[in-house]
Symmetry: C2
Subunit: 532 residues, 2 copies
């Protein structure tokens, strides 16, 4: 049975928390944060009253078009806290005039041609899991809006088992991609939290962060070549394992967030499925000591697949620990060779920094996937977190995350400042007492990517305004501290203020110029990344 996408919140219908689970959640949170007396009931489809669509497709495109309220509402927003609140408030202010799902690349060309004829805006739409306003219509733009859903471009077109690469259509979601690769014993092994509800094209367009905590942290290095359709024609790079021929064309599309073309397919570098795994947990008395241990590990050249540091509160809230220590999760995996020696050395490095290490699994000779239930469980919880977020929002809370990256030399001061600024802003808007927790999702030899989670009481009316204040303060603190406005969530519309402070001014001008070449009328996702 096909899963039905939830039009107002994360993921699939029926996959969210049950009423029993939601009550348990409320009970768990209540000691820390005031929740609303009455949980908000999510909208149903019969409550949707959208403005009439302003456009009518040509007959040739009509079969791909959906004008119904659920489709249009479901494509109005991404899935950020702000999006969920707006949906819960039954606000669908700028729904697309139509959702078009072309069946193939030629179909995408046809959609762009139609859009050009009627002077419409086109928003490339993969899984719609953006948490940065990356798939919503521009305000202050009178043009009709087409949400171009790539969902039907969902096939692996070609597999090269010798080079371990595959030509994959951009609209494929994570589980389907892995299912299509599995018979060939290959895997992309890219597991963003949105894995189940995001697409390859979206990963490439947003420089998505995967489950590897070191080395290949983003999708970037797995991209061998890209195909895209632009209003000015096809854009296709050559399949190459490496090249030094000018600036990398692919790196211009990586992170282009739909403004430079609709990504339709990519040759992706794949891997053999891992057979060897080993993991450990190290407990630290302070977050700083844990971070120093993570730094040593990141600089060791051991390249662990997992190296995630959770602060004590976050450990408790996610059920990973009891809250009495900061946890560093260490993991190694390989399809080729045992990784026990690497884990032993990693454990040594953790102990050098005061960590108390517990070896969780050392499946040296394991070959059955079934032996890795612990990892699967963690993955399950990880993938379920956004559903819990939706329930928390229904309970009246402000529940949001933000993430960044910073070099190690500024790390401790940066974390403290960002945390303090966040807490101060929460207090200032009356969203207090609140929880601000931190983990490191990815680590590098020269720095780390801190990921903050905020859980705060919201005003029954005005949660968005509260959060907007806090978010502004956060972006300012990050910019002032030398971090990036986003490590892997991307820029979209919501991060524009921070992004504008961060990127070189001349680079923004170059990006505008590059856009003008392929999209002279600025029909593709205007206002995202740059003002065209």
């Amino acid at each position: 049975m096909e899963k039905i996408r939830n039009f107002w919140g994360w993921g699939f219908e029926g996959a969210g928390l049950t009423p029993v689970e939601q009550r348990a959640l409320a009970k768990r949170v209540q000691p820390f944060i005031a929740i609303a007396p009455e949980a908000i009931v999510p909208p149903t489809s019969d409550e949707l009253h959208l403005p009439t669509s302003r456009i009518k497709p040509p007959d040739s495109l009509a079969p791909w078009c959906q004008f119904d309220a659920v489709s249009r509402a479901g494509h109005t927003y991404g899935k950020s806290f702000r999006d969920i609140v707006r949906a819960l408030e039954r606000r669908w202010e700028l729904p697309p005039d139509v959702v078009v799902s072309p069946p193939d690349e030629d179909g995408v060309v046809a959609v762009l041609e139609w859009a050009s004829q009627i002077d419409a805006v086109v928003i490339p739409y993969g899984g719609g899991s953006s948490v940065v306003g990356g798939v919503e219509a521009p305000a202050n733009d009178d043009r009709p809006v087409i949400s171009c859903d790539l969902g039907r471009l969902d096939r692996v077109l070609e597999i090269d088992t010798v080079s371990r690469a595959a030509l994959v259509q951009a609209g494929v979601f994570g589980p389907s991609l892995e299912a299509q690769l599995r018979p060939h014993e290959l895997t992309l092994r890219h597991y963003p939290q949105s894995f189940e509800v995001s697409s390859l094209g979206g990963w490439i367009a947003t420089r998505s962060g995967g489950h590897y905590a070191t080395l290949h942290t983003h999708i970037d290095d797995f991209v061998e070549s890209v195909r895209a359709v632009t209003p000015a024609g096809f854009w296709e790079s050559r399949r190459l394992p490496g090249s030094g021929a000018g600036p990398s064309p692919d790196r211009l599309l990586l992170g282009s967030e739909g403004i430079l073309g609709v990504i339709t397919a990519a040759w992706m570098r794949l891997q053999d499925r891992p057979r060897f795994r080993a993991s450990a947990v190290a407990k630290f008395a302070t977050f700083e000591a844990g971070a120093q241990s993570a730094r040593a590990l990141a600089q060791s050249g051991l390249w662990p697949s997992n190296c995630r540091l959770l602060d004590a509160t976050e450990s408790m809230m996610t059920g990973a620990g009891s809250g009495d220590a900061h946890l560093l999760l260490i993991g190694f995996e390989s399809a080729d060779h045992p990784v026990g020696e690497a884990l032993t050395r990693a454990a040594e490095l953790a102990r050098d920094h005061g960590g108390v290490v517990e070896i969780r699994g050392d499946n040296e000779s394991a070959s059955r996937e079934g032996q890795f239930d612990a990892a699967d469980q963690w993955r399950g919880a990880f993938l379920r977190a956004p559903y819990i977020r939706d329930s928390l929002v229904c309970l009246g809370l402000i529940s949001e995350t933000f993430e960044t990256a910073i070099t190690w030399d500024r790390f401790d001061a940066f974390i403290n400042n960002v945390r303090a600024s966040t807490e101060e802003a929460l207090r200032a808007v009356g969203a207090w007492p609140a929880l601000v927790t931190c983990r490191l999702t990815h680590v590098y030899p020269d720095g780390a990517a801190p990921y903050f989670t905020v859980l705060a009481p919201g005003r029954s009316s005005g949660r968005l305004a509260q959060w907007q204040e806090v978010k502004s303060a956060v972006m300012d603190a990050i910019a002032a501290g030398g971090g990036t406005v986003t490590h892997h969530h991307s820029v979209g519309r919501d991060h524009r203020p921070g992004y504008d402070l961060e990127r070189p001014e001349l680079f923004a001008a170059q990006l505008r110029a590059a856009k003008k070449v392929v999209d002279p009328r600025a029909m593709l996702n205007p206002g995202v990344l740059i003002d065209p």
Copy 2:
């Protein structure tokens, strides 16, 4: 005593082959290839008769300017075979009107301002070791030409030992950079063959390939942020360990070959100096079997620092072997942990593919640098190869290299086709019998970078025309076979025909647009990469 750069050939004066060495070289080559009866005597400075400079600097810049013939001749060409032949033929057709060596970044700004005032072309010049026509003046351009030599920007400005990174000026050469890092026990460990005579800025501008055969093959991943001066102003990216905020600004400058700005400094990611090393040599009966072994190793996730396959003839010519087998050189290094287990597994993979493995060194617990004489020797020979090339050119030969990259699925056919096309072209121009040898310099999970060396008899007049024919045939064969026109030598002027076939047409248009933003009058290295 300061070394003096050779104005007509590779490297430093007095560092080339001695007459005795040159005679021995002639003897060694003669059995394979006909050499000229009389070696060509290189030009001396009193033979230089250059056209008068067309420009006069303002007083403020005069102290930085050199108008003497040796300086101008030395900045007329790079160091390709074509460049050496032109120098030996006493042809200095388009020398720069002046060589300017600004003392710092502000000086670079002043140079660009002056160039703008007099409508001059500016060629950013690092070490001048380009082998692709990357630092020579454009033909068919009447504007005066300024060679902007970054050599005085040669300092490490700041070191961050916590993040293991340094802010380094762009004009620093390899040995000086490493000498400045050594007191801090840090190293960039980027060793292109031009290490002694090329600069950090040049490495970044050309996406230089270093000594790591896997993983971090190019300088790209070691760049944390870049500073550049453009005619439109400063360009500076933020120091970040990683980011997902839009397309990477740095990746636009990486490979920009001087057309998008003069790179003045960069924050570079550094490493601890390696303490553990292990290496082996595997012999194979066929090049294909060696390549399959290299592929297995590249796909294993072991990430050897060395994984270079030499064909039998190349092994013999470079003294690495006796010519009876194809050699795979395998090496591991680490500053943190023993690498013996990795070498053992690599040796196993080589044996699986029919390799006969000899463990050369397994310095598990070695800590003294002195123990690695074998590696140092190889490095010495590697760095000396271009001097030998100059002597071969003096002996009347065509002596040149070209390199590319290709995915594994097309590897065998590609190698055979490119080799056959090269040999056929050599025969067609009468440069026969000749040697065409091949090695793999870098390997990837999805492909490899083959590097070809050509040694052929040249006509006493017309070697360049001969080579031009061959080079054209090579570029066509590479493009037709799906390779890249350059894996790490860059595009310059010489690779333009191949590059124009390779990059997406729309990307070239975007590059032109990006250039126009920062360099509206196309003063920076016009004609390199794109026609502005």
